[in-house]
């Protein structure tokens, strides 16, 4: 493979995985905007999206059905987390709720380990494994699914927030909870919706990434961290920023994996993200919020 083709492969890998990171980041941002908390269980939603899809597929379901059902299942789980770990703590300090979500993530992670054990599982690719020719390079079709579905999801979310009444209600609630309540918008309902949406989004990402990057019970924490960094690098509170941040992180990680070493790639991507935040704490699209 020529250097240019190799670079292209790394970029494709990076962007496709980056879109999944972006989905997790977007999910985190939606919950953050609605509640002010960082949901540490977000990555577990992605992990469960993949794992449930694998289980359903092993039971004989067609792929498209497994994805849809996995997304539905994780949405229910996300609502469960909201009900048990977030709703009872409303009004408490943010750090307390964040700690509760850490607890929730441990429960989900441990539960996955109990049920499915420690080995990694894989879904078959959505449309086969034969690479699609792009010039003289070959592109794994699953990657196109990843980018395509993720982009579609992001687009739908943007449309939802811009043009639907419920979406605007959520934005209103995020801007000022009391003002929104005066207008009849239930802030509890908005929180529930935020969790449901982010759970669905992130589960889709998990399901779509499992064919190429295997899924195991411990992957949730990775996705939470990367999603979190993506959201903050993009500017906490900006959904599009989170997606851009995710793609950026995915690309850096992929390039590092290819040109330096796989073991170091995580640390390098993290280091770059943290350095960026050190220089520009508000992220790429965030507003400046200095304490002193």
């Amino acid at each position: 493979m020529s250097p240019a083709e190799q670079l292209l492969q790394y970029l494709i890998t990076g962007i496709s995985v980056g879109m999944v990171y972006g989905l997790v980041g977007l999910g985190l941002t939606i919950v953050y905007n609605a509640t002010g908390i960082i949901n540490f269980a977000q990555g577990e939603f992605a992990m469960l999206g993949g794992m449930v899809a694998v289980v359903l597929h092993a039971a004989g379901m067609p792929l498209w059905a497994t994805v849809i059902l996995a997304v539905a299942a994780v949405t229910v789980i996300a609502l469960g987390v909201e009900r048990l770990a977030v709703y009872p703590l409303r009004g408490r300090p943010i750090m307390t709720i964040i700690i509760a979500t850490i607890g929730a993530s441990l429960v989900l992670q441990g539960g996955a380990k109990l049920v499915w054990g420690a080995q990694a599982v894989k879904l078959p690719s959505f449309s086969g494994d034969t690479p699609i020719r792009l010039g003289s390079a070959g592109v794994d079709p699953q990657r196109i699914w990843m980018v395509g579905l993720a982009a579609l999801a992001v687009l739908l979310v943007q449309l939802f927030f811009s043009y639907t009444l419920v979406g605007k209600a959520m934005r209103a609630s995020a801007l000022s909870r009391s003002a929104a309540r005066l207008c009849g918008i239930s802030s509890d309902g908005m929180v529930r919706l935020a969790f449901a949406m982010s759970g669905a989004l992130v589960a889709l990402g998990g399901a779509v990434v499992t064919p190429v990057e295997l899924m195991r019970y411990s992957q949730g924490a990775q996705y939470t961290l990367t999603g979190f960094l993506a959201a903050v690098v993009g500017g906490l509170g900006s959904g599009m920023g989170a997606v851009v941040g995710g793609v950026a992180l995915g690309t850096v990680e992929s390039l590092a994996k290819g040109y330096i070493s796989s073991g170091w790639s995580k640390a390098i991507a993290l280091g770059v993200a943290l350095a960026l935040l050190w220089l520009r704490p508000q992220g790429l699209f965030g507003r400046r919020e200095r304490q002193r």
Binding site: L89, L114, L225
Partner: protein, 379 residues
């Protein structure tokens, strides 16, 4: 003020961690929980309802504690001493992190990195360079202080969750370094053959002696924590936990104070790491990862960070449960995988019902209110 006197004054103030301070007045009575701002300038790290406990109860408690501590030594059980040592080490880090969480109200999700830094410094320096253990520990401390300052300085100047994130990232980077820089750390294989801790001619070789050393270190840590709380800088820190703006208006250098606590808690974790290396004799990247950082948070939240004893209780509970599940899990495999679920559930339950942790155990607020209402209704 002439420069010498200024320096002397600074040193005197810094040494306040070693001097017992005078507890404040009514403000010392109330306690806060993990990450919660205390009401009315409440105190952290002071036993709630301290004035109410009678002298007899305290003496009884002290005797019981001494008995528990002495059991592993008296019975000469290697197993008990080993478990006790692990509890002690976890308790040291828990108390250290509890200082940070109870004061600055900040969560550090990467404290395992400092723990690992101390362990690896000790391991590398004692095995490769034959350095005396105390010197190796000191080197670890200095390195940790440096790293903590570099990470904490920018993060603590910012608002909210930035420290959690920076420490999370740091923890993972540190773990990757431990795994990848094979020339230094031997990667996944780890470093074996770390000699037992040695103080001039006294070598803490036996299980009982290691355990005793760790208990002493824990006691020292708790004293430092307690004194810090009751000292002048300690009260400044409590003020800033209550309201950063108000504290700042009173002349408290908010960011600097938080940074000092952060570095102190990191350094204590590093000491614990060095002790770990000497006790177990072997270090590998495994115990120093993100997972342990999260487990530390569980220990502190479940035990309670309002009190110097809370994190110790949390650490003890956690370590014992972990040990029990692991041993039982060898016979019933299901139990081995149960620990994560249990810890997570415990975290959520405790946070919802007992935000101040188990140390402040009374009826959960909701039930207490119901009981009071029932009382008033009946009367």
């Amino acid at each position: 003020m002439n420069p010498t006197r200024a320096v002397a004054l600074r040193a005197y103030r810094a040494a306040s961690v070693l001097r017992p301070g005078r507890p404040g007045r009514t403000t010392d009575r109330r306690a806060g929980g993990a990450g919660t701002p205390p009401r009315n300038g409440g105190s952290l790290m002071t036993a709630p309802g301290q004035a109410r406990r009678t002298k007899a109860v305290r003496i009884a408690g002290g005797v019981l504690l001494a008995a528990i501590v002495a059991v592993p030594i008296v019975t000469r059980s290697g197993y008990l001493a080993g478990t006790g040592s692990q509890i002690g080490i976890n308790a040291i880090i828990a108390v250290a992190l509890g200082l940070l969480m109870g004061y600055a109200g900040q969560v550090s999700l990467g404290h395992a990195a400092f723990y690992g830094l101390g362990a690896y410094s000790t391991a590398i320096l004692t095995t490769r360079l034959d350095a005396p253990p105390l010197l190796a520990m000191l080197a670890g401390v200095l390195l940790t202080a440096l790293v903590a300052t570099l990470v904490g300085a920018p993060a603590l100047r910012l608002h909210g969750h930035y420290l959690a994130m920076f420490t999370l990232g740091l923890g993972i980077i540190a773990q990757v370094i431990m795994e990848q820089v094979r020339s230094l750390t031997n990667g996944f294989d780890g470093i074996a053959g770390v000699p037992p801790f040695r103080l001039w001619i006294v070598s803490f070789q036996s299980d009982a002696l290691s355990y005793g050393l760790i208990v002493a270190a824990l006691a020292g840590t708790m004293i430092v924590a307690r004194n810090l709380v009751h000292s002048r800088p300690g009260r400044a820190l409590r003020a800033l936990h209550e309201s950063e703006e108000a504290a700042g208006a009173c002349g408290v250098d908010v960011a600097r104070a938080k940074l000092k606590v952060f570095v102190l808690s990191a350094v204590l974790a590093s000491v614990a790491g060095s002790l770990y290396a000497h006790t177990i004799g072997f270090v590998s990247p495994d115990p120093f990862g993100f997972r342990f950082s999260v487990e530390l948070v569980v220990m502190i939240v479940v035990g309670g960070s309002a009190n110097v004893w809370g994190p110790v209780a949390g650490a003890a509970l956690f370590t014992l449960l972990h040990q029990f599940l692991r041993d039982a899990g060898q016979r019933v495999e299901f139990l081995d995988n149960l620990d994560t679920v249990l810890f997570g559930a415990a975290l959520v339950v405790v946070v919802v019902f007992w935000p101040k942790g188990l140390v402040s155990l009374r009826l959960p607020a909701r039930l207490r209110l119901r009981a009071r209402r029932a009382e008033e209704g009946g009367a």
